[in-house]
Subunit: 211 residues, 2 copies
Amino acid sequence: MTSAAGPRPDDGGARTAPARRPGGRSALVRARVLDAVRAQLLEHGYDELTVDAVAARAGVHRTTVYRRWRDVGGLLADVLDAAGGDDWRPRDTGSLEGDLTALNREVHQALTERPSITAALIAASFRSAEAAEALRRFWDDRYARCEAVVDRAVRRGEIPAATDARRLLVAATAPLYHHLVLLRTPPDPGLPGHAARAAALAASAGAFAEP
Amino acid sequence: MTSAAGPRPDDGGARTAPARRPGGRSALVRARVLDAVRAQLLEHGYDELTVDAVAARAGVHRTTVYRRWRDVGGLLADVLDAAGGDDWRPRDTGSLEGDLTALNREVHQALTERPSITAALIAASFRSAEAAEALRRFWDDRYARCEAVVDRAVRRGEIPAATDARRLLVAATAPLYHHLVLLRTPPDPGLPGHAARAAALAASAGAFAEP
DNA sequence: TCCTTAAAGCGACATCAGTTGCGTTAAGAT
DNA sequence: ATCTTAACGCAACTGATGTCGCTTTAAGGA
């Protein structure tokens, strides 16, 4: 799947090509709407991110947005998918703890900056199945890329070869999400480092080794 | 603060007692409404938990609910506060990893049962400041009680005496919330044990020791 | 250039969350 | 027993969200 541009009424079979038109007005409208979503989010935050506001800002009719994106969650999902195809890679600092700390600092930044698109998407994921799916895809992609961090640590001999990369990565990052998203404790600049160090220690002790 | 029964228009000074009436009809209405919230949540889940449905079910007028609880978040906050004064204590299994595993199993249960009041409250906390506050209070209380687990482990000599209890407890439980609430991965019965073991290992390696 | 039709525009409508003003009931004090 | 007034009942209203049927525009193929 590439860029999700809204509901796609399935061709049904292999007849004559059903003539999609993703190149002209549709694409222009989509670009204007997604730009409006980003701008509205940056200027007024998630609370004022309504379909009406986005449509007005994009100079597009309300029903157009409702038909193509269904709701705010659908809009955010499309924004996220559009931004997901970037070339992000985890930093290489030379040590597992360093890599995890750098990663955690990025997560910390993404969750505490105001306004935070990530935080908005998390909030939206509790109201919209589309947003929830997009977020799941996004995180799945990010964690997959982060497995490189674990591979490097294994190659350096820091941790066992049979280490479960996902479990290690979740152990390192989960405390950040827990504090900043769920517990809503005031941001602690030491948190990224602490969580990274704890996960790295557990990993080198074989806590994430497969049976 | 005891049981929050709605807005309390501050006496302002020490005049004659302003004559609250928390013992009669008010209390009856509150009990009926909170019962209705629990019943509605159990039968139809969070999505159908509206102020109107609760009011109808409680045999009370809509405006009464709006005035006393403001919104669904306020209702859930009151339910949680009412249920927060229980006598819950973490189990004592004889080892840190055992205690954390038992704890994690309870968290896992609370988050995966359908319907889950905890999950409903988390969802509500993104829409209602009152629900967010109630949830914060609830978790703060629970984590405070769980510090007993860490104290016991210190006394047994499993972990350093200077261990930061909160950080250890968050490290143990956060992966559960991350998987079940945010990542929405399918429930893994091994997860409570895995996360507990990793946190216990990190703790014994001194990962949560104070400087 | 012309034709077909997907997608956008438009306004009317439906629904629901939440508010307001006012009358009614009954808790608790005298 | 009587009085005061907090809390509840009631209905009408506002505003935002989301839908529907129809018309208009223009993309892309002939």
